[in-house]
Symmetry: C2
Subunit: 244 residues, 2 copies
């Protein structure tokens, strides 16, 4: 079997992996070229493709979840298209093998690096948009993310601990928790924080630790929330027994 | 002259201010309703419209600035459609007067608040997109932002001081500046930072102050950069005399 002629690149790969018949070959060559490899690289297309992906996912989520709040939609979008899921999707279609990288990046394994893969996938979507329009880009995106779109988590599970604790207390008509930095340690550039979270009406408090105040607050909130939910579960033996 | 019948709202206002002939009246009613006023409000449409605006501006900038880097494009977009310019544009079309707000927001002047106006403008663009498609939304956006699009700043002027100082030094083949926190003051929640920026090869240093380390670094970099540029200008009297 003869080798695939170079001039068919990247049309054949794009056809096979994205199901898209490209028109402008140069556009897709640029999309598959990291800035370390050539002057005509994918950074500008990534800027555009990021916006294409954001709108496509926003519209899909808006239509598919008529009851979801703006906060729910934002959290679902982050779950779908933050850097990690993008890089995973890029790896699934073998983008790392066709991406052109400079010799330095090749040596250090840049084709496996999350940000490089995620950026290249966005650039590809920018190329599809310019080449074929929004509807084509949306079709490609729905196919690429089909599995994630079909298995989205409950929006409550995507909320951070502070938000979940706050919403739980509000639903019970209780006052909000109080957060207080109780200790810091280390140099100004690398401080560790200890934050205490107290829900005085329930007589509960816990201290969390983290490399930022925000992180420490989340840790403390998570502990308090767990205690509350365990207490609530323990206080309802009748309900639990039904399932035993 | 008879009063405008209520059922023409918001079709007439949308026609006059956005130059768009709406089909789905309920969609635009929701876009013009703050969450404080009714259950059917504009937060979900704002989520969608933000993405519509981002893509429209990204595509415009991509096509209009073939030489601009991804960083340049990002800075131009931020200049065009961050909260402040959005709120200004919203005020220009009188959005504050047609926006429906709850009584609490009305009393506290919510119709003038930047974030409420910016969000409502995004929601309107989301409604145009759903009602008429991307091309119509882009037409409305180009008209709304025509003046800003025609008067964009030089991308260099949008760079922050640290970036400009770094690029200036790199262009002269000089080493990067060193930043050091030399003092902090105040409680952990409201600290003031003093940062020293030193370019030892030029024998220059300055200290900046700010409510975050980042802010203090920028202040320090700005002073050093100003000193460098004044020195450079002063060292070229021949060039300057040409213009005198």
């Amino acid at each position: 079997m003869p080798e695939v002629p170079r001039m068919d690149w990247p049309a054949r790969w794009v056809r096979e992996q994205l199901g898209y018949e490209l028109r402008d070959q140069a556009l897709f060559s640029a999309a598959l070229t990291h800035r370390s490899a050539a002057r005509s690289h994918n950074e500008r297309l990534e800027f555009l493709g990021d916006a294409v992906l954001n709108l496509s996912i926003a519209e899909h989520l808006y239509r598919a979840n008529p009851q979801a709040t703006e906060g729910d939609l934002s959290r679902l979008r982050a779950w779908l298209v933050s850097s990690q899921p993008l890089a995973e999707t890029a790896a699934q279609i073998g983008l790392g093998e066709v991406l052109r990288l400079g010799s330095g990046e090749l040596k250090t394994g840049g084709f496996r690096r999350e940000s490089i893969l995620a950026d290249a996938l966005e650039a590809l979507l920018g190329a599809v948009y310019l080449d074929g329009g929004l509807a084509e880009a949306q079709r490609v995106i729905r196919a690429l993310f089909a599995e994630r779109l079909a298995n989205m988590p409950e929006t409550d599970d995507l909320k951070d601990s502070k938000t979940r604790l706050q919403e739980h207390l509000q639903s019970r008509g209780l006052p909000l928790p109080a957060y207080e930095v109780v200790r810091t340690e280390g140099e100004i550039h690398a401080q560790t924080f200890w934050v205490r979270c107290e829900v005085s009406t329930l007589g509960l408090a816990a201290t969390g630790q983290g490399l930022s105040r925000r992180r420490a607050e989340q840790e403390a909130a998570a502990v308090v929330l767990r205690e509350i939910l365990e207490t609530v579960a323990g206080a309802k033996p009748a309900t639990r027994r039904h399932h035993e």
